[in-house]
């Protein structure tokens, strides 16, 4: 066999020069062209931010790939969910039941948060968020996961603009906050998970009502933990405190959705603030059915779960 370099290998190769190798030079000009094309793509995408010229291209590719991903996920689902296959005969009914339970549970929590918030009106100006209590849930399933090699945590769900979804909507499941919608195509939507290093959620510690920001730490870190940085550095969150979304009227995250549980607290001298490790309630490695919070009365291509638990 040939060896890397070495006069003998080289000698043999040159003597045995066949047509293929003569016609298979790796052209540097093409390399330069493609590298420049990649660099152009990056520049275009970075310059534009949310209005980047790549966004329409992403959308077109999403329109093409989304349905195929949905079909692929449907094809592989029986194989990947073999353990739950036998007990999911009437899985649809179960799902609706679960989502209904989740919805009423969330509604209770949201209302409680609103009540607390009203009492604390003088301390914060977030009461406007409490007006947004009435929300409906669009059920959807996760059909594709972004690889961790991309150093981001995103998934595709099989509901899109036809189901009434739009960017910045809150995505939840039985256990709590999953993330928010980044962009939608007609039949799919891309969801930024809490775990993503770029994900920042306004969080509120349940017991003290202190506010802070929950940062994602990457999906491959042990347990997929989150990082809570409190605004007020004099307050130390207790272990096992629950953290809920703080939310705002115009912001992407609906207020009062449970995020996770404080597992560890430490003081960051460098940034002179309290930081806590938050373990999310949601098991991100086993995401399947999720609900997207949409305003009441949103037209949709599927049954929507209303705030009172009824199905429309």
């Amino acid at each position: 066999m040939g060896t890397f370099g070495g006069p003998e290998g080289r000698e043999r190769r040159w003597r045995g020069l066949d047509r293929l190798e003569a016609r298979n030079p790796a052209p540097r000009s093409l390399l330069v062209a493609l590298v420049l094309a990649s660099a152009t793509l990056m520049t275009l995408d970075q310059q534009g931010g949310d209005d980047s010229p790549i966004e329409p291209v992403r959308r077109v590719v999403g329109e093409a790939f989304g349905p195929v991903e949905t079909v692929t996920a449907a094809v592989v689902r029986p194989f990947t969910s073999v353990p739950s296959w036998f007990r999911s005969k009437d899985s649809l009914a179960d799902e609706i039941e679960r989502l209904e339970a989740e919805n009423s549970d969330l509604r209770t929590r949201v209302q409680t948060a609103g009540f607390d918030r009203n009492r604390l009106e003088q301390y914060d100006a977030l009461t406007a968020a409490a007006e947004e209590l009435g929300r409906s849930l669009v059920p959807a399933r996760v059909v594709a996961y972004g690889p961790s090699q991309s150093f981001s945590a995103t998934v595709t769900i099989d509901a899109g603009s036809e189901a009434g979804l739009g960017p910045d909507m809150t995505v939840v499941n039985n256990d709590g906050l999953v993330g928010r919608v980044l962009r939608v195509t007609r039949s799919t939507a891309t969801v930024l998970l809490l775990l993503d290093p770029e994900s920042i959620v306004g969080g509120r510690v349940g017991s003290s009502m202190e506010i802070g920001f929950v940062h994602g730490a990457g999906s491959f870190r042990e347990g997929g933990s989150l990082d809570l940085r409190l605004v007020d550095d004099s307050v130390v969150p207790a272990r096992h405190d629950s953290v809920v979304t703080w939310g705002s009227a115009g912001g992407p995250y609906h207020p009062g959705v449970p995020i996770g549980r404080v597992t560890d607290v430490y003081t960051s001298l460098r940034e002179s603030s309290q930081r806590a490790v938050v373990e999310p309630y949601v098991d991100f490695s086993a995401l399947d059915v999720v609900g997207v919070m949409v305003p009441v009365g949103t037209p949709s291509d599927r049954a929507i779960i209303e705030a009172d638990g009824s199905l429309r």
Partner: protein, 169 residues
């Protein structure tokens, strides 16, 4: 000939991408999946003419950058996989693709590809990652890709090679 093989290669990229985002996450380790698109690109670089292989790498990268769950800066995987295709095509001129050479090529390609992607991330956005974490992810990715090589590369290389009468040896 080339006309027949290149579409097949692009179909292979699409299939690889779909499996990578829809099937393999269910067996992933901390979300790190085998990079099937990279394997297709390496297989292409070892069998197709170098220009086609490089275009294949670029297209596979753009697909990874833009297909739905992706949210990073577009062009990062395109750059990484173009370089992978270029390097694999260069290596191929010096080494006859025996089994060990193929595995070594895949390991090197996986390391280079994921590293280039990570480095562009460090330079352009995603400052949240620390270098040890990046290295851990790259290491796991290389292991995954090498593990899948015996199952993916031979059929693909046979497929790409068989469609080209000149390469049928």
């Amino acid at each position: 000939m080339t006309r027949g093989r290149v579409p097949v290669a692009f179909v292979a990229v699409v299939v690889a991408l779909l499996l990578q985002v829809s099937l393999f996450p269910h067996v992933a380790w901390h979300g790190i999946v085998p990079n099937l698109c990279l394997l297709v690109v390496v297989a292409g670089a070892l069998t197709l003419p170098a220009p086609s292989a490089m275009v294949l790498g670029f297209v596979a990268g753009v697909a990874l950058d833009l297909a739905p769950p992706a949210d990073h800066l577009a062009g990062r995987w395109a750059l990484a996989l173009t370089l992978v295709a270029f390097l694999a095509a260069r290596v191929r001129q010096d080494v006859r693709p025996t089994a060990i050479a193929v595995v070594a090529t895949v390991a090197a390609a996986s390391f280079v590809g994921t590293s280039v992607f990570a480095l562009t991330g460090l330079l352009l956005d995603d400052p949240a990652m620390s270098v040890p974490e990046l290295l851990a992810v790259i290491g796991v990715a290389v292991v995954w890709d090498v593990l899948l090589t015996p199952f993916v590369l031979p059929p693909l290389m046979k497929l790409f090679g068989r469609l080209d009468p000149r390469l049928a040896t």
